[in-house]
């Protein structure tokens, strides 16, 4: 079974690490007996038992508090907060405690834990269950921030996250759960590295930087641009916002002269702004046009499918934005 869904990759990745390291525990709301709200963690309770795989009450602060205390004292917890939106319920733990305690203690304690969630839109869940909040985490010093776009990366980046000695916030994307990938070496251990972007497509005219569910959309847009306008794009899958692979992003931005970011974050203060700012400052001389951000508008997400579709960057919007910006710069 080398064809794996992104959904199944979640449990696969966690199981791989739990087999390897008895310090790894996994817990959250409905993750054990029910196998997760999105059926992403089916089988973990059966394999590892209730000592290591646990259901919790609806107590997001208690979940992350338990993760932090356990991480400080020798365990390697993976805690699930069902939706990225719910980070708002335990943001103190994330933004004030887990991220800062190592620094405040000048290294007396480490917090090696992973916080996993289902992030992003596309499931018609409305404004409070559809947000992309990886920018919230990126804005907080002391957190590593990871968001896989493929089933293989779900496994490999989870392995890297669990093995990392510092706190990692891990954003699975809800709209990708059904996506499949051929993984020939699925029977072997898969481990990726944090802080390494992947170039998913190469082209000389422009660089599109994308993350998570925006990666397949950016790739589709790049194909369309190639066919319809002859514009050849490089597509960089950032994978990890912290550490950020600025080397890869800047290399391709400089080489192509044009940068586009595609993000689900609402308009203001998303990670696109960060990457655009870095690239503008550091590739100034090489840029042949202004970097352009493609984002969700700065609005809460609507529930109705017709409206939700319009809010999130689409293949069409990406292609059109790139084409018209490239037209401008060529004009």
């Amino acid at each position: 079974m080398a064809l794996l869904t992104y959904r199944k990759a979640v449990a696969h990745g966690i199981a791989q690490e739990m087999r390897r390291d008895p310090r790894v525990v996994f817990f959250g709301e409905d993750v054990a007996a029910a196998g997760g709200v999105f059926r992403t963690t089916t089988g973990l309770l059966d394999e590892f038992g209730p000592r290591r795989v646990r259901d919790t009450p609806i107590s997001e602060q208690a979940i992350l508090g338990a993760a932090m205390g356990a991480a400080m004292t020798g365990l390697r917890p993976i805690a699930e907060i069902t939706y990225g939106d719910f980070f708002a319920l335990c943001w103190d733990l994330i933004a004030n405690e887990i991220s800062k305690s190592r620094y405040m203690s000048d290294g007396q304690v480490s917090i090696p834990l992973v916080i996993q969630c289902g992030n992003g839109a596309g499931l018609r869940l409305g404004a409070q269950h559809s947000q992309s909040v990886e920018n919230w985490a990126m804005a907080v010093p002391g957190l590593k921030v990871v968001a896989p776009a493929t089933a293989r990366d779900v496994i490999g980046l989870m392995a890297a996250a669990v093995r990392d000695p510092d706190p990692v916030v891990f954003f699975n994307h809800k709209a990708l759960y059904g996506a499949t990938e051929e993984i020939p070496d699925l029977d072997r251990e898969i481990v990726e590295e944090l802080g390494k972007a992947v170039v998913r497509r190469t082209g000389d005219d422009a660089t599109i930087v994308a993350l998570a569910a925006m990666v397949p959309k950016a790739l589709a847009a790049a194909e369309r641009l190639s066919q319809e306008s002859g514009i050849e794009c490089t597509v960089v899958d950032v994978r990890s916002l912290v550490p950020l692979d600025t080397a890869t992003i800047l290399e391709h931005t400089a080489r192509t002269g044009r940068l586009f970011t595609v993000e689900e974050n609402p308009r203001l203060c998303g990670w696109g702004a960060e990457i655009v700012s870095i690239a503008t400052e550091e590739c100034w001389g090489a840029l042949t046009g202004a970097p352009v951000r493609i984002t969700t508008p700065h609005i809460p997400l609507p529930s109705a499918d017709a409206l939700e579709e319009l809010a999130i960057p689409s293949v069409e919007r990406i292609a059109q934005t790139v084409a018209s910006a490239m037209g401008d710069s060529r004009a």
Binding site: S59, L89, A127, P300, P302, L307
Partner: protein, 340 residues
């Protein structure tokens, strides 16, 4: 919590009037049939999103709403359809909202989990479990401040009792003596997890009352009369300056957590036992014992079906929201501009 451990703190409440009884039946039956229709449409992929149904729990919505004054405030949960029905929200815009139409109660922006009908005092379904408890306090405080005599009823699930918001809300309500009635719909499950497996006490709401100096009240959530009378007493007390109350109503959801959930995690025996306690069935029997004929009740049901048919038809005929709707009503000026 099991069915057997139900207890009512005071003696069995007095009976409601026949008129009220028929109204309670009508509300329960409307909610039931409405949600059955929603489920049909969900299975046809016409209603999208999670779609949490409260089939089996209608006695609570009916009993509560009947005890409220028109200008009282309701705060409810993600499982909120029946409460809107009970407070009189017209069925067509309600259905249209679930269908994501422009004629929806919120033009499709909120959907099933974020229903709100401010005109009828329903200040929202809250999809973040527990949030409504702290927000309900604010409405109650405002009523107290304005001396309006309005009472706020805040409904929440058993799962909400383990959130921090529950604790903060109850404490504030007591120290500010707010006119708010907190009502727990304990349907024994918090999504896919039995609430008793993640809760330190047996009655997740009532056994916490002591922590706020409140009385512990557990009622049969499948008995609309008991719900009605208990809540009416609490509301009356709150309205006259007696402060908050905390009531736990035991009930059961016939279906799973959401529209797509087969609820395989529940014991079939448990489901069967609770279906025997279906409030529509048992209440119908009670009405009959009070001399209300099948004919009358069947007549009511037929009316309801006709209403729901009409509402569904009207809703289905609605347009999809226009693109421009995406950008309306972020701000009170109607727009979404964040810059000049």
């Amino acid at each position: 919590m099991s069915i057997d451990s139900l207890h009512t703190p005071e003696a069995t409440p007095k009976e409601v009037s026949k008129e009220t009884a028929i109204a309670l039946y009508r509300t329960m039956s409307t909610a039931r049939k409405f949600e059955q229709r929603v489920h049909d449409l969900f299975l046809k992929d016409l209603v999208k999103g999670p779609t949490h149904l409260g089939i089996g729990q209608e006695a609570i919505a009916a009993g509560v709403a009947a005890a409220m004054r028109e200008d009282d405030y309701s705060f409810i949960t993600h499982r909120g359809h029946s409460h809107l029905v009970a407070r009189g929200t017209p069925l067509a815009p309600l259905m249209a909202e679930l269908l994501g139409r422009d004629s929806g109660l919120m033009r499709g922006k909120g959907g099933s989990t974020h229903l709100i009908d401010a005109e009828r005092g329903v200040l929202g379904s809250y999809a973040i479990v527990g949030a409504q408890l702290v927000i309900a306090n604010g409405a109650a405080w405002s009523a107290q401040y304005r001396d309006s005599g309005q009472v706020t009823v805040c409904v929440f699930g058993d799962g909400a009792t383990n959130t921090g918001a529950f604790h903060e809300a109850l404490n504030l309500a007591v120290i500010w003596n707010l006119p708010v009635v907190f009502l727990c719909e304990n349907n024994l499950y918090s999504r896919y997890t039995r609430v008793d497996s993640v809760t330190a006490v047996d009655n997740p709401a009532a056994d916490r009352a002591c922590a706020y100096g409140l009385a512990s009240t557990v009622i049969d959530g499948n008995d609309p009369d008991e719900v009605h009378l208990t809540v009416a007493t609490a509301i009356e007390l709150a309205r006259t300056g007696g402060g908050p109350a905390l009531i736990e109503a035991i009930t059961f959801s016939h279906g799973g957590h959401s529209g797509a959930d087969p609820a395989g995690y529940r014991d079939p025996g448990e489901v069967r036992a609770w279906k025997d306690l279906d409030p529509l069935v048992t209440y119908r029997a009670r009405l009959k014992s009070r001399g209300i004929t099948d004919e009358v009740l069947n007549g009511i049901d037929a009316e309801i079906v006709a209403q729901i048919d009409a509402a569904t038809e009207e809703a289905m005929a609605g347009d999809w929201p226009a693109v421009s709707r995406l950008y309306t009503n972020v701000w009170s000026d109607g727009g979404h501009a964040w810059r000049n």
